[in-house]
Each structure stands twice: as C-alpha cells, then as structure tokens.
Amino acid sequence: MLFKKSLIRILLLASVSAQLLAHPHTWINLQSTFVLNEKFELTEIKQQWQFDEYYSAMFISDMLNEYGADRDLAFALAGENMVDSLLDYQYFSSLSVDQAGISIGQPSEYKLFSVVIDGADILTMTMTFSVSLKPNIKLSNIEWSVYDPTYYVAMEHNELANLVIQNGEKSGCVPKMNRPEPSEETIAYASSLDKTQTETQGLGVLFAETVRFGCL
C-alpha cells in the first residue's frame, strides 16, 4: 500500500516536473495599478504587460512585415488583434471580491507600443479595466491575480514596486503579493489539468501570484 502510494507520488511529481521544466517559453513583467476614488472604492485596474526581449523582437519584426513600416499604425492594428485574442482568456486576469469572482469585462482603453530598455525594443501593452462593482478596499477582501494557466508564459509582478494603489495614500492600505509555495496538493491539482481541461487549472496555478491588500 505504502509502496503503491509512493510510486504514484513519484510519478505525479516526475510528470509535473517534466512539464514545468519544459516551460515557460515567454516571460511577461507585470505592473498593476489599482485606482481608488475618494471613498476608497476600487474603480479601475490598470495593467501593464512588458514582454521579454525574444518575444518582443519576434513580435515586432513579424508585425512590421505584416502591417507595413508605419510603426504607429502597425502597433495599433497588432494591439487590437492581441486584445481581441485575449478576450476568450479573460486577459489571464482574475479579480475576486469576498471570494466571489468578478468579471472585469473588456478593457476600456488599451495600447500596444515599444520602449527601449538596455538597447532592446521591448513590447509593452497597457490595458485599463473598470470595476463596476466598486468594492471598498478597506471593507472588502479583494484578490487580484494575473497568470497563464498553461504556464507557456510566466507572468510576474516580480517586486512590490510593480503594485501601485493610486489615490491610496489616505486609505492606509498597502498591496501584498502572495506567491504560492507549490506543495504536493497543488501539484496534484495542477496535474488534474488533463482530466478536466478547465481554464482555472493548470501548471500556471503553481506559480500564480495573488495580490491582496492590507489596511490599517
């Protein structure tokens, strides 16, 4: 019995490890800005996605080939395309208020452009989502996370500086970032991906950051 159980454990671990180590192929640096109104209600979330050098170089080169050399026009068209294709994936973003998932709908504004960092053109996208529920940041339990369930793309805020509360000085709230510590349970959860094929499960969940807020 013990033998059988540990065998299953090893196989599960081996398979998830093998899968994980075959990924990720692309990295995105995230920045999330939480916009509060004067009543400390969360009204908007602004996101910035910054792709890695390889993806940026490939994407921009393809884009200029496809849409012509007018960079501004090309970025506008490619941006529309990208936002459209992310719709079905809810922009890899999820917001929950008091444990209940809230749809963030479509971005009210977005822009795709590039910035030069260390001599390389870095593909950058910004999106603004309005939060119609307007939860009070001091009274509600707000959770925000952005991740690709397949872990093809690793999406990370990396440091607390990439989490900003706008108009938040008076609220006395600070963002907190939780990175799950993958355990055997979460590994088993991630490996159940193949059976259920639901969006929320997958390797990505093992490393998905969750943003919460701590208020005075």
């Binding site: 033998f3 065998l7 390889y54 393809d62 993958p182 590994i187 490996s191």
Partner: protein, 315 residues
C-alpha cells in the same frame, strides 16, 4: 524489516528485486527531494530566465561588436547548454529512465547522449533555416511549428516506452518457457539472452537518441530567431551548436552516473542466491517498468504541449 525483505527476495527474486529497486530509488527521491523539490523547481525556472536574458544580452553585444563578444557568446551558450541539460532539459529524464532500466553499456549511454544533443541542435538549426530563410515564414509560425515538432518528439518517447515494455514482456514470456525446459540448470544456455542483439541495440540506440533529440531545444529556437532578427544569424547557429555541446556533455555525465547506479544495484543482488535466470528476469522487470515510465512521461509532456498548441492567444 530488512530481514523480511530478504526472505521475500529469496522466494520470488524477480518481483522483489524489481520492486526493491524502485523502492530504494523512490524512497531516496522522496526523502531528499520532496520537501524542497517545488522550491528547487522555482529556482531552476528563475535560473533559466536569467540565462535567457544573459544570452540575449550577448547576442546583442555580438551584433554591435562581433570580434570582442563572439567568444563570450559561445562560452555563455555552452554554459546554458550545461545548465539546460542539468536542469530543465527534457532529455535527461528519458536517458536516465532508459539507461537505468536497460542493459546498455556506459559507452552506449555516452554515445546516445552526444548523438541526441547534436541532433537536437541540428534540428533547431535546420528547422529555423528552412522555415525562415527559405520559406520566409513569420517568426510566429516558426514558433508554432517548433511546438508541433516538439509534440512529435513526445510521441516518439511514448513509442519508445511501448517498444521497450513490449520487448521486456516478450523476453519474460520466453524465459518462462525456457525455464520449464531447463529447470534451474545454470549452463551457458542460461546466459543466452545476455548477449545483446547488436542490430536491435543499434536501432534502439538511434530510437532513443531520436526521441530525445527530436524536440528542438526551445532556448535554441529563441536564440536562432533573435539572432536572425538582429542580423547575426551565423552567430546564432554557432551559439546553438555550443548549447548542444554543453547539453551533450552533461547528459553523458548523467548517463555514466545512471549506468553506475544500475550496475551497483545489480551487483548488490548478484552476490545473493538470485542469479542466472533470476537476474535476467529482474532486469526484464526493470526494463518493463522503465518502458511504462517513459510512456507516462511522454504522455504527460504530450498532453501539456497539445494544450498550448491547440489554443494560446500569445503563441
């Protein structure tokens, strides 16, 4: 506990030695790695990111000043290859499973590692050269094709597992039949199956090397495409070969280690009463288990890749 283990061993050596092999390995794996394993995975993924960044920085440097940075790029690529094989390289699991469960020699293990790594680099170079330079495909399509080739590689791993398991089963049945006719007479007839079939082994070796190397290293594909975008494609090719060299060396070292471990375990039981037929049966059982592990690994990697290929908004 140990006494009981040996009693079982004496009664049914075939099952118990195979079982013990897996228990010993599994126990060590669990005991030493389980608590820190997920954390270790995180570190490896982080290191991979660092290497990718380092590589892109050096490719950029080469584009600006070829003479000064050419050699450094090769050194970084080689180091990436070493790390890749020791950490995230997929081929490692396959070669360890294969060598731990098969009767291959150390030399063959090293050969498989080197061939697979070289093949892997060549596949990446051939694929990118053909698709980008000749067919003039978009980089996005090239990446997608790379993913599909990767899937084929995983299918090959499954097939290799099926083949190994099937062969082990066949040998087991054969030895069962043998046993009925020559009940425990340990003559030269006994060792007949020990002499490896040269032709089959070479085919098998190539099969292993192919299924390991078929998957073009995603790092190499990134490097090649990036080098092409910034007009230093030939340095991308050289870097890819350097990555292959680094991967091959590490895999070869792993191959040597797993053959050592296997022989050591075999030696442990050689001294006991289980000999001749029993040892042969044991190695067939281990081969069978190895085949199943390969099927399982191949399948889990395939299903993962399939999900990304089917639909990913950023692919």
């Amino acid at each position: 506990m140990i006494n009981r283990g040996f009693k079982i061993l004496q009664n049914r050596p075939g099952y118990s030695v195979a079982g013990l092999f897996i228990i010993v390995f599994g126990y060590f794996l669990l005991k030493t790695l389980m608590p820190s394993w997920p954390e270790l995975l995180g570190h490896i993924i982080e290191a991979q990111r660092y290497f990718h960044k380092l590589l892109s920085t050096h490719i950029k440097a080469v584009a600006n000043n070829t003479d000064t940075y050419g050699l450094t790029l090769l050194a970084v690529s080689f180091a990436y290859g070493v790390f890749h094989a020791a950490g995230p390289g997929h081929g490692k699991a396959i070669i360890i499973t294969y060598l731990a469960s098969q009767k291959e020699s150390m030399k063959q293990g090293v050969a498989i590692s080197l061939i697979a790594s070289l093949f892997q680099s060549l596949i990446a170079i051939g694929l990118i050269s053909f698709l980008v330079m000749i067919l003039n495909l978009k980089f996005r399509d090239v990446t997608q094709t790379g993913q599909q080739v990767e899937q084929i590689g995983y299918i090959l791993v499954i097939l290799l597992g099926v083949f190994l398991a099937f062969r082990a089963l066949l040998n087991l049945f054969r030895s069962q039949a043998d046993r009925k006719t020559v009940e425990h007479q340990h003559d030269e007839h006994c060792n007949h199956s020990y002499i490896p079939d040269k032709k089959l082994t070479r085919m098998k070796m190539l099969g292993v090397a192919l299924s390991m190397g078929m998957r073009p290293c995603s790092g190499a594909i990134l490097v090649l495409i990036y080098a092409q975008v910034i007009n230093v494609y030939w340095y991308g090719v050289l870097a890819t070969l350097a990555i292959g060299a680094g991967t091959g060396m590490t895999l070869a070292a792993l191959a040597v280690a797993s053959v050592f471990a296997r022989n050591w375990l075999h030696g442990l039981f050689q001294g006991s009463r289980a000999s001749g037929h029993h040892i042969m049966r044991v190695s067939e059982f281990i081969a069978l288990a190895g085949g199943f592990v390969l099927m399982f690994l191949g399948w889990s990697l395939y299903s993962m890749a399939a999900q990304v290929v089917q639909s990913h908004p950023l692919l």
